[in-house]
Assembly symmetry: C2
């Protein structure tokens, strides 16, 4: 896969284990994971076992689930235990959600009872909720501590935590009272009380909040971590920015896929099988193909008009394509603006009104261009040019209004706006455009 690992693979082939090990130890864990993915299946464990334990666990956490599965199937129970101890619970949960049941069983068997309880609790949160992506490894302080005691606690308990840069202040009921950054601790005297430097304007999320909402908060407030609380404001976990970047990437890719009329896939393109790719694409194509035949029936229905004025047929692709394009522009903008939180459903009337005005401007520009094109190419077709141009304005207005508001209506009924794909808009607008076109053509040309 990656040329840059050829040298390492050669060392492995030639059994130059000590030299290989030395090189691996000096690499970044994410790169070691990438290298392991290029190693032939039967040798992964060889390489995995030559790494120092901590590095092996670190690399494991960066591997894709299918590679993780291979490794789990080849290592001992004891090694599994060790890895589970080193991993953050949220990473373990991510992995378990995608592993086959028998592998999950083996993993759970080797987890410490404390980890197992945590995992079970995390697995209960709905998919894509803040609860499902949080981690339980954070540092908590009490407000009566002073800075010295806080540092002590960080030094003592910080090693396995996902971040040590933000600590959370909780009361005896584990309710969240404030946050303190290491920055403030470092810049304060050792005797200062935590209650004096903690920030009580805590930005927190609920376990049930959607992960997209959470990632928009990171973007807005420039956060490194956010605390997750339950309905009684008890601190149950934190979400760190590195996990949020993965969430943003995954959510965006899903939006891209839905907006191009596909079922979202779990894996990167290059590692998805041909049958899965075909399966993800065929459903919507089939639905849209069948709806697309409606447009065909309209053409067939006006057969005699088309026979009387063949030039009318020639304008159909231009008209329907432009309608589809104009509608997709609007739907893409609106879906994206809703995803990043720039537009809320209550803005629907504003969007409606804006799209009307934009579509009038765009429609008139295109209609004028089109009118001139037709009378230049086909002189003496002024009435035809007029009919086509009026249809064009009407089509663009319809397309932009549907494109702008349909995703919002979909969100209002609690579905994902991204299912309003460009292709779906195109299919809907095609039908409307043809009906309008023939009505106008008949009226103007007297057919």
């Amino acid at each position: 896969m990656e040329k840059k690992y050829d040298e390492l693979l050669e060392l492995l082939d030639n059994k130059k284990i000590i030299e290989l090990r030395q090189k691996l130890i000096n690499m970044n864990t994410a790169d070691i994971a990438e290298f392991l993915e290029t190693v032939p299946s039967n040798e992964i464990v060889v390489v995995f076992r030559m790494l120092p334990k901590e590095l092996a666990a670190g690399a494991f956490s960066y591997m894709d689930v299918e590679e993780q599965e291979k490794v789990i199937n080849l290592i001992t129970d004891r090694e599994i235990s060790y890895i589970l101890d080193e991993l953050f619970v949220d990473d373990v949960v991510d992995m378990l959600e995608e592993l086959p049941a028998n592998v999950v069983k083996r993993v759970m068997k080797n987890a410490s009872s404390e980890t197992r309880d945590l995992i079970n609790q995390f697995l209960k949160y709905p998919e894509n909720s803040a609860g499902s992506i949080m981690t339980a490894e954070f540092i908590d302080l009490k407000k009566y501590m002073n800075v010295m005691q806080a540092f002590d606690r960080i030094r003592r308990t910080g090693k396995g935590k996902e971040t040590i840069y933000t600590s959370y202040v909780v009361n005896e009921n584990r309710q969240l009272e404030g946050v303190v950054n290491v920055k403030e601790l470092l810049l304060s005297d050792y005797e200062t009380k935590i209650s004096d430097i903690m920030d009580t304007r805590v930005i927190s999320v609920m376990t049930t909040d959607d992960q997209e909402q959470v990632s928009n908060m990171f973007a807005k407030y420039d956060l490194l971590a956010v605390p997750v609380v339950d309905t009684e404001n008890r601190l149950v976990g934190i979400i760190t920015v590195d996990d949020i970047i993965d969430v943003i990437e995954k959510e965006t890719t899903e939006d891209f896929e839905k907006m191009a009329a596909m079922t979202p896939s779990e894996r990167p393109y290059i590692r998805t099988g041909v049958f899965t790719l075909a399966k993800n694409r065929v459903f919507w194509l089939l639905i849209l193909m069948i709806s697309g035949t409606l447009a065909g029936s309209i053409l067939l229905h006006y057969e005699n008009i088309l026979a009387a004025a063949p030039l009318l047929v020639a304008m159909v692709p231009m008209l329907t394509d432009t309608g589809g394009n104009a509608g997709s522009q609007s739907s893409s903008l609106i879906i994206r603006a809703m995803a990043v939180g720039d537009i809320k459903t209550r803005d629907i009337l504003k969007v409606f009104w804006k799209e009307i005005r934009v579509s009038i401007i765009v429609g008139i520009v295109l209609a004028v261009a089109n009118y001139m094109r037709i009378i230049i190419l086909y002189p003496d077709s002024e009435m035809m040019a007029l009919a086509v141009s009026i249809s064009l304005v009407a089509t663009i207005m319809m397309a932009k209004i549907i494109g702008g508001t349909l995703p919002m209506l979909v969100r209002i009924i609690k579905l994902d706006p991204a299912i309003v794909s460009g292709p779906l808009i195109t299919t809907i607008v095609d039908i409307g455009a043809l009906l309008v076109y023939f009505a106008i053509a008949r009226a103007i040309l007297g057919l």
Copy 2:
């Protein structure tokens, strides 16, 4: 804009300044900025001046450029100076890039000469390069220092730095030698030498690297900050994760816009004017409309065939729409995979081969469904059904091969693959689909 600020606005209206000030002081800076954007223009400065200086500068950094401009035009030179001192250079540069020339002049006049030099240097980096988004406020250490000295330096110089959690070790030529996280400092003895705990496997970027590349590195390595070096490995700045989240959001929105055949806009939808929106959309619609007329000419050219077999016309929208949809699916997947770094241009043959196989499966499924639909709806049309179904397979194959490889070819010639929009693919595939359709129909139906 936001209902939640109604209470604050009422306080302002009723001139309850002290109460308003008290409430603002307890708010997050990002929220204060959001509130300021809802305040009527003539009162922004009133509110701005009631804030403690530091909070005012903080809120300023979160405001949109147009609001920043309003504020700058209303405050004194002295106040500008103060804000410039408080802001990070990268934020100042972002702002200056969008302000009108006369305002830029006034801002530069009030910057300290040191800041002015930095700004000028930063403005020289190409747009969207690592250099253009980095900040010069970082903590540098020497490797002969010990942990105690490092903490001293962090305490002394840390206040105005964008992050104090990662420090960079440089030699006497300012070349980057390693990184140390506060985490390691906290977990080490005071006498430990920096050279013993620094990580020399530094992941760094060049000033000229593209920001998209940089953001993919953050995603891959879970970074909080990355050092930026010049061609001689001298440390010139750092990029922090909060800025990267903004980059990711902006780049993705641009991709969405390009892929829906629009010129990317600088501002959120809700704040973009109707004329700008229309201008951003009309260019590609016009280009595509004119190309779309080619498909119309093909229909006109085969006028006599259509007259002989009217059912053929009825299949045109289904055929061209399906082709466009199938092609957009592939182009969306490939453009996204390239954006997140999952696919490189050298994978083009793999993609080509994968798309061929996927398109055969998808094509056959749709062709069979379509064949059955036609012979059920129009009995005795087996040959017609056959012609349409074969055309469908050919169209889908063509669409997916073009959709999969065209974005990669565009990248190979150094353009942005996202310009291969769904609408563009649709227009190209329309023409090919019609040519294939008529060729096959003539051959099979003997027209």
